[in-house]
Symmetry: C2
Subunit: 219 residues, 2 copies
DNA sequence: TCGGATCATGAGAGTGCTCTCATCCCCTTC
DNA sequence: GAAGGGGATGAGAGCACTCTCATGATCCGA
């Protein structure tokens, strides 16, 4: 029986979270105030905190910082609005374990709550990076110079291959087999096309053409 | 430095696996024969085995069974053809840890290899079931009476909600908020439509209509 | 500088997913 | 058995993704 602290000021969303988590067997306590939330998280024995960043009064990130600096290691999942991307990154760097972007499906939150309660110690590797390019393996998005970019499935896999072979020149055949599978038509120029797509999204110079050889990610 | 035993008779695929795994820092040994493979897996100190089911001579499943009955717990990832579904299930039940369906992208295999090498003890929960319906959380497919069914993202989430609330009657509002999010238009009949899609795929009688209340999964 | 090889890219076809809308069906109740 | 409400479903719009093809641009060696 896991205890979850919900920190959310908007009544409709708070109730949505309470109902959903309780229906799934969790015990919840809700606070709509940053100061109270800090006390509860510090004093009470909660197993996890769901924390909205957009609180009036004491800000969510401040709550997080205070709880952490009091030495508490309980897992924290942040709820943030879709567009404050810098805040999100800052949240993760300052000690949040995960985040969900509003508006979200309940099952999405639930899955992350379960993950964080399951493996107490193992923080999953969700970020791959090289230079100014960061790839979030979970959300399938990339961050380039601080801006988030949405990627399609193919684009994502291709960038993942580049990031897992940093600086290396990858031939079209290698990319084909890694991204498309081992029995794909070798006459296709689909690799070129997707390099083009990635360049459009990541920036022109991020992927270098090595004439006669293939492509390489610049770092 | 992890050692991987590749058991694959088709030269092209064997080479594809060798190259890919080596490029990612693994040490590989390849065997194209079931008898030799059993010996290697039993004697040698491998950290993981990639095992093709479609071997000539001694069959892959037999290899797996023999290795297991010799008391070895090394992680085994099975490669199987797309359509022998019963074999696949049987493989998992007889002691394989994971499987990949041919033809596969290399990154897919790689991800699973990494997972199996990371958490030595924790078998991830990847199957949800109720009665004759089994949902594979990883591949986003459902098995109904032994047949695999492909699901779209929405269909998948919806079935997941049903399976996580076994036998329970779920209102349209509950389904809307769980599957579509908390701020979705309540006047939509999209829930009805997706129940229809699921029925088409799972079988007419799998989801019961409770007039005036909502829907429930039959078990 | 010229020409061929190599690469880049716009256009567009095909597909699957999601959702709305309107109509049809069926169940219940009187 | 008729009426009304709730549910089922076909049609189709809109969209994103994937990939091919053809053309245009660029590079590089002779």
């Amino acid at each position: 029986m896991n205890r979850i602290l919900i920190v959310e000021d908007e009544p409709r969303l708070a109730s949505f979270l309470e109902k959903g988590l309780r229906a799934n067997g969790f015990v919840t306590t809700t606070s709509r105030d940053g100061y109270e939330a800090t006390m509860l998280a510090t004093d009470g024995d909660f197993d996890l905190m769901v924390l909205d960043l957009g609180l009036p009064g004491k800000d969510g990130l401040t709550v997080l910082r205070d709880v952490r600096s009091a030495g508490h290691r309980l897992p924290v999942i942040i709820l943030s609005a879709r567009d404050d991307t810098d805040v999100k990154v800052a949240g993760l760097e300052r000690g949040a374990d995960d985040y969900v972007t509003k508006p979200f499906r309940f099952e999405e939150l639930l899955a992350r709550v379960r993950v964080r309660l399951r493996d107490g110690g193992t923080p999953e590797r969700t970020l791959l990076e090289s230079g100014a390019v960061v790839l979030d393996l979970r959300t399938r998005r990339a961050r380039v110079d601080g801006d988030w970019v949405e990627l399609s499935a193919r684009e994502f896999t291709m960038l993942e291959v580049f990031l897992r072979h940093p600086g290396q020149v990858l031939s079209r055949e290698q990319l084909l087999s890694h991204v498309w599978g081992y029995d794909h038509d070798p006459g296709s120029n689909v690799v070129d096309v997707y390099v083009g797509y990635l360049r459009r999204k990541l920036g022109r110079d991020r992927i270098a053409t090595v004439r006669g050889m293939g492509y390489a990610l610049r770092s």
